[in-house]
């Protein structure tokens, strides 16, 4: 039986399969209880969405799982190889787990947590195999930080949302065991300088990581935002290297091998390397440099005259955000934005700047400055530093939004 008021919400026509699956005409997806007491998803159109006076209708009883409001439909934007976080639809700095970006090289594997294991071997005193239960029994840590793909810049046209420009960054509260704790358990030999991290997806993803990152702040996470990690993020356990390019945080982690040299896997040679000057190719560029983006106002919002809060996020893989500056006149003058406390290390940091739009043309920019003194560059500074052959990795240019007189906000694409 439908939980909604029957009279008010009677569906005028049978629901087609396309609508059930959330076709173009969908206004909302609602959860209904079937006559067997199962909760089923139904998508309904605007015309069908008649809302009863909520003070006159008994609401649904407590349920086993929470749901989003039927009026809210934030979605990831998926291509064949990745799926992007809707930055413009989010508040604060935690990415809801089901909106965390995805980038994987051969799909999302299904891994039975009972047969899952992590083997650590190579230059160690005691090679060991840990079950998921073993990992969960070690002293644990919880930490908030971002994960960002190093290929996180798209440009090319004016009609682009923050999600399309740089939606391959997301933030979670992660819980797991520090890799240093496991290194201690297996007895990493002092001559070991690198380790290989290997996933158990169909790409059997591998990356070499300097061993010191393992001693410093790498973790093996099994939980994300209070629950088990989602399959798309590496269920049941993954490596996390705070502040480093996402690909190195190998998901579905099955094996770590300690070595005295890097393995030169495909993902650290043919991919995730970038052309720099004099025909050179930069390799092992792990750290994500500081970046920011204004997520409001941004395309496709339509501005109304008056006061508003310019909002966005800033982050740096090298530490804390020290300052975010905002310009409303294309970079002629800059003002400090307000940062939301607490400002965390290697974490998305919310910034806000109060602004009155009087109806004229404006160009809105933000630039992040991190605690090392690095100032988020423009695309021109990046090209000047790296040359024309720089490719698409580690691009963190200042993003600029053009506000037109009619209130349209457009992306000023620079590449």
């Amino acid at each position: 039986m439908a939980v909604e008021n029957k009279q008010e919400n009677k569906l005028s026509k049978p629901i087609s399969r396309r609508i059930l699956l959330g076709g173009a005409a969908t206004a909302a997806v609602v959860l209904l209880k079937s006559s067997y007491g199962q909760v089923v998803q139904k998508a309904i159109t605007h015309a069908e969405l008649k809302i009863a006076d909520p003070t006159k209708v008994l609401g649904p009883p407590p349920g086993a799982l929470g749901t989003r409001s039927k009026f809210e439909t934030p979605v990831k934007k998926a291509s064949d190889i990745s799926s992007r976080t809707p930055l413009q639809d989010l508040f604060g700095t935690i990415t809801p787990s089901d909106l965390h970006y995805e980038r994987h090289h051969a799909g999302v594997p299904v891994i039975d947590p009972h047969s899952y294991s992590l083997t650590i071997h190579g230059m160690v005193d005691k090679p060991l195999v840990f079950s998921l239960a073993d990992l969960k029994r070690f002293p644990s840590v919880t930490r908030i930080f971002f994960v960002e793909c190093s290929g996180n810049y798209r440009g090319g046209k004016a009609e682009m949302t923050p999600q399309e420009i740089c939606g391959l960054t997301s933030q979670s509260e992660w819980t797991g065991v520090m890799l240093s704790t496991l290194f201690r358990e297996v007895g990493v030999k002092s001559k070991a300088s690198w380790f290989l991290a290997e996933g158990s997806d169909a790409a059997v993803m591998t990356r070499s990581v300097p061993v010191n990152k393992g001693w410093e702040d790498a973790m093996i996470a099994y939980a994300q935002n209070g629950e088990a990690i989602r399959p798309e993020q590496g269920y049941p356990a993954r490596l996390l290297l705070p502040g480093w390019e996402g690909n190195t945080s190998v998901k579905w982690l099955r094996r770590i091998e300690l070595s005295d040299q890097p393995f030169m896997t495909r993902e650290e040679t043919a991919k995730y390397t970038e052309g720099v000057k004099d025909g050179k190719i930069r390799q092992f560029s792990f750290v994500m440099d500081a970046r920011s983006i204004i997520t409001y106002p941004a395309y496709p919002q339509q501005l109304q005259k008056g006061w508003m809060e310019i909002r966005g996020i800033a982050w740096s893989g090298r530490g804390k955000i020290y300052k975010v500056e905002v310009s409303t006149n294309g970079g002629k003058t800059w003002q400090d934005a307000r940062l939301q406390d607490p400002v965390l290390d290697k974490a998305h940091t919310a910034f806000r700047y109060l602004w009155e739009w009087k109806g004229g043309e404006a160009e809105l920019l933000s630039r992040a400055i991190d605690e090392t003194g690095y100032i988020q560059p423009t695309m021109k500074q990046l090209t000047d530093a790296r040359g024309q052959d720089m490719g698409g990795y580690h691009l963190n240019p200042v993003t600029s939004w053009l506000v037109q007189r009619d209130g349209k906000v457009l992306f000023k694409s620079e590449k």
Binding site: A106, T119, I120, H121, P127, L128, V129, D134, R137, F138, P139, V141, R143, S180, F183, R184, E185, G187, V188, S193, L196, E198, A202, A203, V204, T206, P210, N212, W215, D217, R255, E257, D260, Q261, F263, M264, T265, R266, T269, A270, T273, V276, G279, K280, I281, R282, Q283, S285, V287, D289, G319, P342, L344, D345, T372, G373, Y374, I375, L382, A385
Partner: protein
């Protein structure tokens, strides 16, 4: 194997002395080291990994050849495999870079064919490692070691790195010097005001 990488690896170990220590991360994300003196020497978790446990999954191949299995093959045998198991997604030397192929072009004998084995890959061992673990895309891990040597030889020959008769095995593959190897440099960004 380039000594540079070994040096680089130790350079980014700012303070690493590899002494057992415990890392705590504070609520602000500050990393605090405490020594693990009050910890048991071992938590006794996990079971010893036997050599057969390790052998079952130890797939990786290093540039010095460590990890390469027995077996061998040349380009003539490899071409036959390529034409049945790879060409549909990767095309041939005459396929253009923008053809609607599912996989990237792998043969780069002409200019403007994009970054691939002949003009971008720094180590030949990477090719063996990657094909063995991840290809064919629709049937990963289905080739025998012998077949991987063969198709590796073919791709190297098609990219003009070796000749048709050259045999690729655990001895010969690590000895090849790839044209792009000298172009690779370690990350030179280091934070601070300079944009690199």
């Amino acid at each position: 194997m380039n000594k540079l990488w070994i040096v680089f690896g130790s350079l980014i170990m700012w303070s690493c002395n590899n002494k057992p220590r415990h890392v705590i991360v504070s609520a602000e994300g500050k990393v605090v080291y405490t020594d693990s003196a009050n910890w048991p020497a071992s938590f006794g978790l996990g079971r010893p990994a036997s050599s057969s446990d390790i052998a079952k999954m130890d797939l990786d191949v290093r540039p010095d050849g460590k990890g390469l299995p027995v077996g061998e093959g040349n380009a003539i045998a490899g071409k036959a495999i390529y034409l049945t198991k790879c060409v549909a997604c990767h095309g041939t030397d005459t396929t253009s870079g923008d053809a609607k192929l599912l996989g990237p072009v792998l043969i780069s004998t002409k200019p403007g064919k994009g970054k691939t084995i002949g003009n971008y890959w720094p180590y030949a061992t990477t090719l063996f490692d990657y094909v063995r673990r991840a290809m064919p895309y629709n049937e990963p891990g289905s080739l025998t070691n012998e077949e991987v040597y063969q198709v590796t030889a073919f791709l190297l020959q098609a990219n003009k790195i070796i000749g048709e008769q050259d045999v690729m095995n655990a001895k010969t593959l690590p000895k090849l010097v790839m044209p792009a190897q000298k172009r690779f440099i370690p990350d030179d960004r280091k934070g601070g005001p300079e944009v690199r």
